[in-house]
Amino acid sequence: MELTREIYWNIGSGAATLIPMYLLLLAATCVFAWGGWQRIKVFRLGREVQRFDDLPRRFTRAIFQVMAQVRVMRVVGAGTAHGLFFWGFFLLFVGTCLIVLQADFTDPLFGIVFLKGRFYLLYSLVLDISGAVAIIMLAGLFVRRYFLKPEGLETRREDAVIHALLMVILLTGFVIEGARMAVTEVGTDLALWSPVGLLFAKALSGIGESSQRNLHVGLWWLHLLLALSFIAMLPFTKLRHILTTSANYIFVDHGPKGGLVTLDMEDEEAESFGAASLGDLTWKDIFDADACTLCKRCQDRCPAHATDKPLSPMKMINQLQEIAFATPEASLAETVGKDEIWSCTTCRACQEICPAVIEHVPKFVDLRRNLVLMEGEFPGEEVMTAVDNTEVNGNPLGLSFAGRGDWAEELGLKPLSDDPEVDLLYFVGCYASFDKRNIKIAKSFVTLCQAAGLKVGILGKEEKCCGEPVRKLGNEYLYQSLASENIERIQDYGVKQIVTTCPHCFNTLGKDYADLGLDVPVEHYTVFLDRLLDKGQLKLGTPQSFTCTYHDSCYLGRYNDIYDAPRRLLKLAGGSVAEMSKNREESFCCGAGGGRILVEEKLGTRISETRAGMAAETGSPLLVSSCPFCMTMFEDGIKGAGYEETLQPKDITEILVERLPVA
């Protein structure tokens, strides 16, 4: 027997089938196009932003990400089920397309039939398995949503509709196949290539051929109608994520990771800064808002949400969507809520995990920019004071700028104004310059460099805050004035290499300053020292073994993907790292980012105490970090949570300096 099947078996391939079928398809496509256009009109309310450059690269990356389901599968469980369902459903879609192609085009027009022979056997088997996998995964996700009910998972009516629709499409597919097989294939070897279909065929064997034929034709049309409704429903339900998420992979920001738009402060035409209402957002912001599938991964990882603050990144994105599609006149800040806006630590946990690559953090910063630059509003008077201090003394602590380099005197360090011939500029940052606890980090780092025979220079009183905290609080104006002063100094002295101990300075000088004209390599000390040790330029004495846990700072980890260098340094010093459950990409912020180091934490519980608790759970006596902000937070958090007897915060530089061979 020939290894194939009659495509329009029992349906008929004449005009009586084709005309209504294609009319229905046309209708569904029209509904789809109209719905899509309605949404595109809303996206177009946003400002322009360039996301169409370098299209070949954008498309290749997007196709890979969609097909491989990389981002969604990062969460084991629901993510895995989604990935498997996707592949199943996608193969069924491809299979259906092949049928259409052969039955309505290549066969009638050119007499080409390709669904036959060995290819047909493989085709049958693959589609059969795909259908089964899709049904099992869908059932699993149904159980999760309606019985296990994970905390925070919001279920709306459309979820039920989508679940039912998909399940009925898949099941009718098998019943149609079963009915056809019961009449034409049962008992042949061919049937073995459709094992699941065969099960359905056997179940239907008792009802007789005419019932099988009636059932087949009835369900065939129902299946068609449902599949077309699926297409028509796409723009109107969460199903649109098939398109929006895929498109978002294309529209992803190709700039440096975690970058913000550097506002043009000289623009005399600009009447408004930051985002106050819908029109201030970019089309990509609105598109993002429409691309959210409420998977709540962002919310699950948000340190503000986890410590009972009112913020949820998911909620914010959905509020923006509601504004865009329902209340376009609404004030963004009023709708999202000011406590919510100020609670964000810009830790990027939301953005890093989002399967739809929604850009949450820049939206929070845009909302803040409007509050600060247009309304002069801050989350508290202490913040106004800190910002004012930064303006006057170049540091948020309000200490005399003239004393910025005092800590370095005993190490024989000179400011570049006295001696610009150095191997590297150490950009110290405010906390390592002025804060007693963090000065130890600065001293340790310089001691390590000197042990490696390097001549370190600092800017001393000419250094100003890098501007990161005030920038993340929305004060782009102050950030840019601080940045241009720093850049001018750095360029004046012809600096060739910059190293920072603060990941915030590192990210700001290394990436953000590029927009303002700085073009000098910037490294964080973990990477820098790792290289010195690797080259043998820096030598440690015999390692002494110790146990610690390591906290990935957001701006080193998620913003710059530096996870291994700090761990290698700890290992070289003899340390074994007992990881916290939330580590690396999933690290839990210390609470200091987004300028929050300057803000009193009045809402909910303290983020730093929660993180200290996670460190304490590992049982290690040391909570090691590589960021002065984290250090400041942990000094307080460990005490606040009552772990001071058992847990000590320490910076990697402090551990390494203890390992230097005795001279």
Binding site: M265, E268, E271, F273, V372, L373, M374, E375, G376, E377, F378, E381, M384, V387, D388, V392, N393, G394, G398, L399, S400, F401, A402, G403, K461, Y477
Partner: protein, 257 residues
């Protein structure tokens, strides 16, 4: 209504102060400058009054070298309408009488309805310029105000007295008011206002054109306060330190007698 606000630029109080060569004032190297804190309250109150009235002009005035324009620009960014800079490289050598005289020489024929000043400057702290100016212009003055209301040509203010007492004073304008901490929270300039302030009028008048009087007081010498013996930290368990504390109180003070 025409409102004058007199402000001073002072070093940030966290700065590291050194004396100048003559030993009569501080050296102005390595200092971070800002608007005198009390003057910020004055600027804020003047702008609030203008906002209340709708129609009014706020003129900000400062005496000193060119750098004081930075403080004036902040006042303009907060919302003052224009600035008058009395250019004086050696303003630190002038006594409060001379400073008040120079301002009075400018303001004399300008018929200001209200003048706001800080209660005192953070660096010299004489608290005299405001009241002397009022005297020279023949205006009533109320010092150290902590609240301000204005209705129908009459201001109702509360001023701080010793011992936590406050006095409520009503006065008709024109008048001069000196502003104390607690009066208001100075606003943070918005970016559009910073941009606008760059185009606002800021005229400089040489001090010699206005100042025709000699000083009545002269700073002979200034010095840092002597370092006195530090505090005493008691250590040990609570019972022990309580005992120590009681015996110190008994021996060295009269509180337990």
């Amino acid at each position: 209504m025409k409102i004058l606000v007199c402000i001073k630029q002072v070093p940030d109080m966290e700065s590291r102060f050194k004396l100048n060569a003559k030993g009569t004032w501080y050296n102005d190297q390595d200092l971070a400058w800002r608007m005198n804190e009390y003057d910020e309250f004055a600027v804020e109150q003047a702008i609030q009054l203008r906002e209340q009235l709708g129609e009014a002009e706020v003129v900000v005035l400062s005496v000193g070298p060119d750098r004081v324009k930075e403080a004036m620009k902040k006042a303009l960014a907060m919302g003052a309408d224009r600035g008058v800079h009395i250019q004086d490289e050696a303003s630190y050598e002038k006594d409060p009488f001379q400073i008040a005289s120079a301002i009075a020489a400018y303001a004399g024929d300008q018929s200001f309805d209200a003048i706001f000043t800080g209660m005192q400057s953070q660096d010299r702290g004489s608290a005299q310029v405001g009241v002397l100016l009022a005297g020279m212009l023949g205006l009533p003055a109320v010092t150290t105000i902590v609240s301000f209301e204005f209705d129908n040509g009459t201001a109702t203010v509360r001023r701080e007295l010793e011992g936590g007492l406050k006095a409520q004073v009503k006065l008709a304008f024109p008048a001069l008011l000196t502003c104390q901490l607690g009066l208001n929270t100075p606003r943070y300039p918005t970016l559009p206002n910073i941009m606008k302030s760059k185009k606002k009028e800021l005229v400089s008048i040489p001090v010699a054109d206005l100042l025709k009087v000699e000083a009545v007081t002269v700073t002979d010498t200034i010095r840092f306060p002597e370092k006195k013996g530090g505090g005493l930290v008691l250590e040990g368990d609570i019972a022990e330190i309580t005992e120590q504390l009681v015996s110190i109180l008994k021996e060295k003070t009269t509180v337990l007698k």
